[in-house]
């Protein structure tokens, strides 16, 4: 039973375009995350966010930015995509102060 929803499932775009991915959770959590899973299956945290603070992994390029309208939604915008941005982007959520995170199915991005 999926409680973290992501759209689209798959997106193909060209270098330099702007893309935006959506994430919604129905678990009542107050903290959300974005992870990047590369071609070697390595998962790396990009952002964690709740209404109190945004924590950014310092290795994340500035063209990436999270956007939140409320605690149930956290979108990811990429301003000008690069070929190395091709990956699966996974959204997750948890309660603030709790370690257990629940993941969505991911959005696969292919940059041509």
């Amino acid at each position: 039973e999926t409680a973290v929803f992501q759209t689209p499932n798959y997106h193909v775009t060209q270098v330099g375009n702007e893309v935006s991915f959506n994430c919604k959770q129905t678990l009542g959590h107050d903290t959300m995350y974005w992870y990047k899973q590369d071609s070697k299956k390595l998962l790396k945290i990009m952002f964690s966010y709740n209404n109190k603070q945004l924590i950014v992994n310092e290795t994340v390029p500035r063209r990436f930015s999270p956007q939140s309208s409320d605690k149930a939604h956290l979108n990811l915008r990429i301003k000008s995509v690069e070929p190395e941005d091709s990956a699966v982007y996974l959204c997750a959520s948890s309660y603030w102060g709790r370690d257990t995170q629940y993941f969505g199915p991911g959005t696969r991005l292919l940059v041509l």
Partner: protein
């Protein structure tokens, strides 16, 4: 440098056997260790987790053994089933707000 290491990279067992997946970590401040199961095309799903104050956690056919002194842990899957065929990720965290640090995963194949 990989903060969380997993071995083996892949593992094949017969139905009914016990699969043993290993994980080690560098940062002694890590205090929470979840294992996630991921099927192709899906997001990771939390399987079982342990905190650093425990040395064993059991949930059905899945058991985590934790050795804090050696900074090692292992996941045992007893009575392996073909449906257990998936990639298993060991993860660690020291601060929930900074997200999880993942290993590269172990791909498990269970043959009937």
């Amino acid at each position: 440098q990989q903060q969380v290491r997993q071995s083996p990279q892949s593992l094949t067992v017969w139905e009914g056997e016990t699969a043993i997946l290993n994980c080690s970590y560098e940062d002694s401040t890590f205090n929470y260790f979840p294992w996630y199961q991921q099927f192709p095309g899906e997001g990771p799903a939390l399987l079982i987790s342990i905190s650093s104050v425990s040395d064993k956690k059991e949930d059905g056919r899945f058991t985590i053994f934790f050795n804090k002194r050696e900074k090692k842990l292992s996941l045992h899957i007893t009575d392996s089933q073909p449906g257990d065929s998936a990639t298993y990720f060991c993860a660690a965290s020291v601060n929930y707000a900074q997200g999880l640090t993942f290993g590269l995963g172990t791909r498990v194949s269970v043959f009937p």
